[in-house]
Subunit: 122 residues, 2 copies
DNA sequence: TATCGTTATGTTATCAGAAATATAACGATA
DNA sequence: TATCGTTATATTTCTGATAACATAACGATA
């Protein structure tokens, strides 16, 4: 029905150092140990995932993901301790912020019409 | 340099009842007394502005903007008391949230590399 | 009753960002 | 030393959101 969507991005210069998409990707990389598998799991192209990782790594003091190429399984990617910590902190701030914003938003929400508009995409 | 960008949208069913763009538009309509003048001031097309107004008005219990067509000056649009109040509340929540998020974000920000990446769009 | 600037709404064109495709390099292991 | 799945990267194609364009209706006022 009604919802409050909050999006928090950390920008660094011209590019987005971290945000919701990168957080999800990081989590998937942690789970699968591979950029390509992570990308596939969220059906994102490998190329895009690789680019996001590159920006992240370049934006922070330490790499969040380290990759290795070649080898019997072709290579892989692992989430560093640092990366894991960034993810944890981001998620934590997001959860707190969600709660904060939602509580602050109550009076505004009460001004919305009870029923949403009909969906016209048919 | 580094910044935290926070975006708060209120969704209602499938469409976005309110958000940063609509807030700016509302403010401009209040200032200019016309959708077309407001649109022009933020160089947005009249059509787009009109659509945003339509969604807003349909999403809330009362209209935020009332329009009149024809007449010596062609017509116009005014921000209702209700619309003004929605705008005020939204801006208030946004400011508070900005502050909250920024303070919660400090440790994460300290993990960013000091210098942003070079801009490659040249 | 002609004018004028605005609201209201449909149609077409454009373009940036994303997807799709292609290809090279890599190196453990069998 | 051939294989295989992955990283790494360039190029081409597609698409969906938006801009641009067009047009009708409206009505106070002069």
């Amino acid at each position: 029905m009604h919802a409050v969507k909050i999006k928090i991005q950390i920008t660094s210069g011209n590019d987005i150092a971290f945000g919701p998409g990168k957080a999800d990707l990081l989590e998937a990389i942690g789970r699968y140990g591979s950029i390509s598998a992570a990308a596939k799991s969220m059906n994102m192209s490998y190329k895009r995932a690789w680019e996001l990782v590159a920006v992240m790594n370049a934006s922070f003091k330490q790499p969040l993901v380290v990759t290795s190429v070649g080898g019997s399984h072709g290579g892989g990617a692992i989430l560093t301790e640092f990366g894991f910590e960034v993810l944890r902190l981001y998620r934590e701030v997001l959860a707190k912020s969600d709660q904060f914003v939602l509580s602050e938003m109550q009076n505004l929400l009460s001004m919305l019409s009870a029923l949403p508009n009909p969906d016209l995409t048919s």
